[in-house]
Symmetry: C2
Subunit: 330 residues, 2 copies
């Protein structure tokens, strides 16, 4: 099987869907290859209030809108299509392989997003794989812990958002954070503290504490905690552990194809999102310097799709250095 | 009068409103100074279908949503507030003057947008100022030309969009374009040609033609056209002339304050949107390298607001050069 496209987009999250809307609207034959279902990480967020234009929207709802919008202009979306390899061909076009299926394109936009970071403690994989009490997604799994006790680990925006979400379902929630202050946005910190300070609150916060192991039989029964200031350890009884400690870029399959930085993010020029391979752009949370916000991923997708037109008009444009006025010295 | 803010945003278009949503949500005291009414150029667009998440939305409607969203988190918006001067003070803070009113901030985000480009022909200013038949905004003024004859000038996206809009109102529309092909997106070109080719269409297209003067008495009565291939001139009778030939950055008041390029766009580093003045960021259509799209302006606003946190955490961050991985050589 071989199919030719103008533009193949690897990853159907907000960055990829925004790029597809633009390329398809420009009447470029566009294919999105998505490993799972469209949406990426944003599908796991049930309350978005910082995407300009929507005062409050669910991740799944927003992604569905973006998907329909791109499809309405002719973008094709293949789900369950995991890209396994990319190759630059002699004629400057690109080959994109999903195992045995091969697709060809004049340009590629990489938007594979980022994935959950693991805690890396004993019990984590065992209970996660068994669906037995370890989760990375409060939105998805909180309802399963109705009237139960859960521990959440982390201190960023997602950690606080999802912990607040857990409080709506679980009987008891303990937020475990290794530092003595949160890095999450202040508005979320305030909301969290207000919740913890409610009379009879079901939320407690354990600062300067790390989770070192997850224990239980068939299901999670406890998490081992260590207080970093006193050295004291305890087995905290709980039915579930939610791990909210950030993301890793989903770029393992790209390491022999484009240049990545040490953390695995795709290197690019930040003006036009060109990678180290001519004809291959990048957009979204998988790139160096990404602000990791929905609106910036969407902006990236549109920027890449606009830049792609420069490349189609003149392939030598790819090698133009950034204008000095885009590298201002301060 | 003197008021202190964490962040002052100059210009209340989509870039400024997106920035304000983020800074206000971060509990930073935020003021938007807007010369006219919030919205910027996008308010004049009645049909937006390329902002991801909205399959079709009016510019005014979308801007109202963005404005309410930012205000809900505490952003203050002053309308009719034209910034006349900015100054960096000795304590590294910034003074922003609207004539006699002065405001002070720890950081500024410049998002003044861009403005309509003028044709520069006899009659243009006279009839525009009198509201007597010269317009730059199809959306705003098309209804005034019901059952009349109008000429439109231009060949970009806005020109084609607004010409199609004019066709819904006017009895006859002539699109005047100086080249023999359009630079607008193909989907719009196709829509335009389909319209022109309808039986009994009210749209004609004059390629390789320029408008050299606008004539009339109290009101527009004709536009003088010159065919660039034959040299032939004609007085084309019409009741209105719509000029859709692009934008100029609204940065005149900034020329002694931040570095601008030759076209008047604000120079910046494209990763963090830092300008030549520490503490002053830029976002949207007024900056060098802007893709001039709604979604990219919004992305810029969010990027600037995220970068601002780096600056507040450590003012020396301002002088950090871009990492090599953001300046990839191709």
């Amino acid at each position: 099987m071989a199919e030719n496209y103008d533009c193949i987009i690897v990853g159907g999250g907000p960055a990829g869907l925004a790029a597809a809307l633009y390329t398809a609207r420009d009447r470029l034959k566009t294919l999105i290859l998505e490993k799972f279902m469209p949406g990426g990480q944003i599908s796991t967020t049930d309350r978005i209030e910082n995407y300009p234009g929507f005062d409050r929207v669910g991740g799944i709802e927003l992604v569905e809108k973006m998907q329909k919008q791109a499809a309405a202009f002719g973008a094709e979306i293949k789900t369950g299509a995991e890209v396994t390899a990319l190759k630059k061909l002699n004629d400057a076009s690109l080959e994109v392989a999903c195992d045995k299926d091969k697709y060809f394109a004049r340009a590629v936009i990489l938007s594979p997003g980022s994935d959950y970071r693991k805690l890396g403690v004993p019990g984590e994989d065992k209970f996660r794989n068994a669906g037995a009490g370890v989760s990375y997604c409060g939105t998805c799994d909180a309802p399963f812990f109705k009237d139960k006790s859960v521990a959440a680990v982390g201190g960023g925006n997602t950690a606080l958002e999802d912990t607040l979400h857990l409080c709506k379902h679980a009987a008891k929630v303990a937020l475990i954070h290794r530092r003595d202050e949160f890095r999450a946005t202040k508005v979320l910190q305030e909301e969290l503290l207000a919740k913890a300070n409610e009379p009879g609150s079901n939320l407690i916060i354990k600062y300067s504490t790390v989770a070192t192991a997850i224990g239980g039989g068939d299901k999670v029964q406890s998490v081992k905690l260590k207080d970093l200031k006193t050295g004291r350890e305890e087995n905290y009884p709980c039915d579930g552990v939610f791990i909210f400690i950030g993301m890793v870029p989903n770029t393992g399959f790209l390491k022999d194809f484009v240049e990545l930085n040490n953390a695995g993010y795709i290197k690019c020029d930040c003006a036009y999102l060109r990678t180290s391979v001519p004809g291959v752009f990048v957009a979204g949370d998988c790139r160096v310097g990404a602000a990791m916000q929905l609106a910036t991923a969407v902006g990236d997708g549109v920027n890449a799709a606009m830049a792609l037109k420069h490349y189609f008009r003149d392939p030598n444009w790819w090698h133009q250095p950034l204008a000095d006025e885009l590298k201002i010295k301060n």
